[in-house]
């Protein structure tokens, strides 16, 4: 809550609606990587907004997940410049390795594959976002090592 108050204080008095997107980011991070109706209603109460004001924003922006996602999201860019550098092969390789198509999550709940539009890393293509960071210059070997890395972090945190 302190963090929310800090965000609200960036704006002039009475303009706390501006805090909505930053607070939704926080909520998504703290409530399992996605926004349930209950989470959105809670955000509405915190910011003194109507629930519909939160829903209409959460459904507009593609970074907000409205369904549960895996612990690790592979968001592979597939727009022009990444396509020119083989992003199709990366998506295919993740499918072959993890058995998930874009939009799907592995049965163990560890990995979700998502195809996304341009992330502003065109010179370092092919690439994907994984959590907070970008994974760039992707190759099959690099995908293998990222998957292994995620699995070992998951195993050690259990």
């Amino acid at each position: 809550m302190n963090e929310v108050q800090g965000i609200i204080s960036r704006y002039p008095q009475g303009k706390q609606k501006s805090a909505l997107i930053p607070v939704l980011h926080l909520a998504q991070q703290d409530f399992g990587g996605w926004l349930s109706t209950e989470t959105m209603d809670y955000v509405a109460s915190v910011l003194n907004l109507k629930p519909i004001e939160v829903y209409e924003v959460a459904t507009f922006y593609s970074m907000f997940n409205l369904k549960p996602v895996g612990k690790y999201m592979f968001e592979v860019c597939q727009t022009g410049p990444c396509m020119l550098n083989g992003s199709d092969d990366i998506v295919k390789y993740i499918y072959e390795t993890l058995g998930i198509k874009p939009g799907e999550t592995t049965a163990d709940g560890l990995f979700t594959l998502k195809t996304v539009e341009c992330l502003g890393a065109c010179g370092y293509a092919p690439m994907m976002q994984q959590g907070k960071y970008y994974r760039e210059h992707l190759t099959k070997e690099k995908i293998d090592s990222i998957i292994a890395e995620c699995r070992s972090i998951a195993a050690s945190s259990n």
């Binding site: 410049p81 550098n85 010179g123």
Partner: protein, 451 residues
């Protein structure tokens, strides 16, 4: 070769840190502006510099600043547009990631000129780690007296805040950005009123691109007239170009706008030539929205003159035979690439990013995507090519914001210059699935530079 004003110091170790940045002459422009210039004098220098908006539209920055309404007792805002989302563009990211204090320094001086005491950086949500870098730079600037109350004893107060978006290309459009910053969907506003009169929370607001604001630093340090001496004609100063696609050295380059397109692609100082020993087929020189050009029209204008990397030369010939400088997102296609497939990915991008407010854009982008996919997968008809042309014409100019135009132009230019490749997809459906059309007749006069 060319002069560097923005990235000159970007390679210095730890330049991201305040102490290093300051030792290398950082924040001198703020000292100069706040101690010896009035806000109007700062705006005057920016006008003299001829600086044009680096986000894509190329509108003169000084003029934009001078349009800002200044009613008594109403706050004014500077909002920096760091929502960099135009495919092919990753220059602002580079600048913020490696030399964040340059942006903060430029923002302080610009905020002083505009009278903004609370300025914002609206950054695309995916650049999450850069938010940390900027917030650290802001904290350092604050603890060293460059932000807060009564900066340098000038009586000027300023706070800077970073606001994260959440994945919406449309929020790079300035009024959609302001809606988003107000906590709403990123639906562009009908103009007028322009943000200069009614912007953030209905107050007068200037929205400028990251690179534009960074350029204020050398303009104040060296003077507007000195800055205007760099470059050519109305393309003054330096421009960041983010080069990508099938080249040997993708990356962010600062150019002084007197270099030819051919030198930019083939010289080792910049793109280093086409990757894997292939030939140049086509290029989108200014971000995905601007027209694609086949190699021959890219390197030389229709009049046979050398084409240069600046606003005027890249647009020489209009959309019939030219393109645009745009955001500086330089996308190169080699001779193995398929223009239909590439155009399809761009159409899919615009369909995904359309906010849905205006019917021509909401419906048209979806139709274009579907038709391009069926052409690419060998299921298209000859009449689909004319249908595509018809749809893009009905989107262009019929929407509230320029996203409609941005979606229409790449499709129009692809058909204009590569119609035979589209037709080949219809007449050879099986080949279209298996292999690409290749270099085609349009790119025959590709020039291989001497040496």
């Amino acid at each position: 070769m060319g002069r560097k004003l923005l990235l000159e110091k970007a390679h210095i170790e730890n330049i991201r840190l305040y102490d290093v940045y300051r030792q290398h002459g950082g924040y001198q422009s703020v000292e100069k502006a706040l101690k010896s210039m009035s806000p109007d004098q700062v705006t005057e220098e920016v006008k003299k510099s001829g600086l044009r908006g680096r986000g894509g539209a190329g509108f003169p920055t000084g003029m934009k600043w001078s349009f800002l309404a200044k009613p008594e007792g109403v706050p004014r805002y500077l909002v920096v547009n760091a929502d960099e989302s135009e495919p092919g563009t990753f220059k602002d990211r580079y600048l913020m990631e490696f030399i964040p204090h340059l942006l903060i320094e430029g923002m302080i001086t610009a905020s002083y000129a505009l009278g903004s005491t609370r300025s914002f950086i609206y950054i695309r949500g995916e650049y999450a780690w850069i938010v940390d870098i900027l917030e650290q730079a802001i904290a350092e600037a604050r603890s060293n007296g460059w932000l807060g109350k009564n900066i340098l004893g000038s009586g000027f107060d300023l706070d800077i805040h970073v606001q994260r978006g959440a994945g919406a290309y449309i929020c790079g459009e300035e009024t959609a950005l302001l809606e988003s910053l107000e906590g709403k969907r990123g639906n562009p506003r009908i103009k007028p009123p322009f943000p200069a009169v009614k912007g953030l929370w209905d107050c007068p607001t200037v929205v400028n691109n990251v690179e534009t604001i960074a350029a204020v630093v050398p303009i104040i340090n060296e003077g507007g007239e000195e800055y205007a001496k760099i470059g050519v004609g109305k393309s003054t100063g330096t421009k960041l170009i983010s080069a990508c696609g099938n080249i040997n050295k993708p990356g962010v380059y600062e150019i002084d706008m007197t270099i030819s397109v051919e030198d930019f692609i083939y010289s080792d100082e910049y793109c280093g030539g086409i990757a894997n020993g292939r030939k140049l087929k086509a290029c989108i020189p200014g971000g995905s929205s601007v027209p694609i050009l086949p190699a021959n029209l890219l390197l030389k204008t229709a009049k046979g003159e050398t084409r240069y990397m600046n606003y005027e030369s890249l647009s020489d010939g209009g959309f019939a035979t030219g393109s645009m400088m745009g955001s500086g997102g330089f996308i190169v296609l080699d001779d193995s690439q398929c223009v239909v497939k590439h155009t399809y990915t761009l159409a899919r991008f615009y369909r995904h990013e359309s906010c849905g407010q205006c019917s021509p854009c909401r419906e048209g982008t979806g139709w274009m995507e579907k038709i391009l996919l069926s052409l690419e997968t060998g299921k298209g008809k000859m009449s689909d090519i004319d249908l595509l042309w018809d749809i893009q014409r009905k989107i262009e100019g019929n929407t509230i914001c320029p996203l409609g135009d941005a979606a229409a132009w790449p499709v129009a230019a692809a058909i204009r210059h590569f119609r035979d490749e589209f037709e080949w997809h219809v007449t050879n459906p099986e080949d279209a699935v298996r292999r690409n059309y290749g270099i085609g007749r349009y790119a025959d006069p590709v020039m291989v530079p001497a040496g």
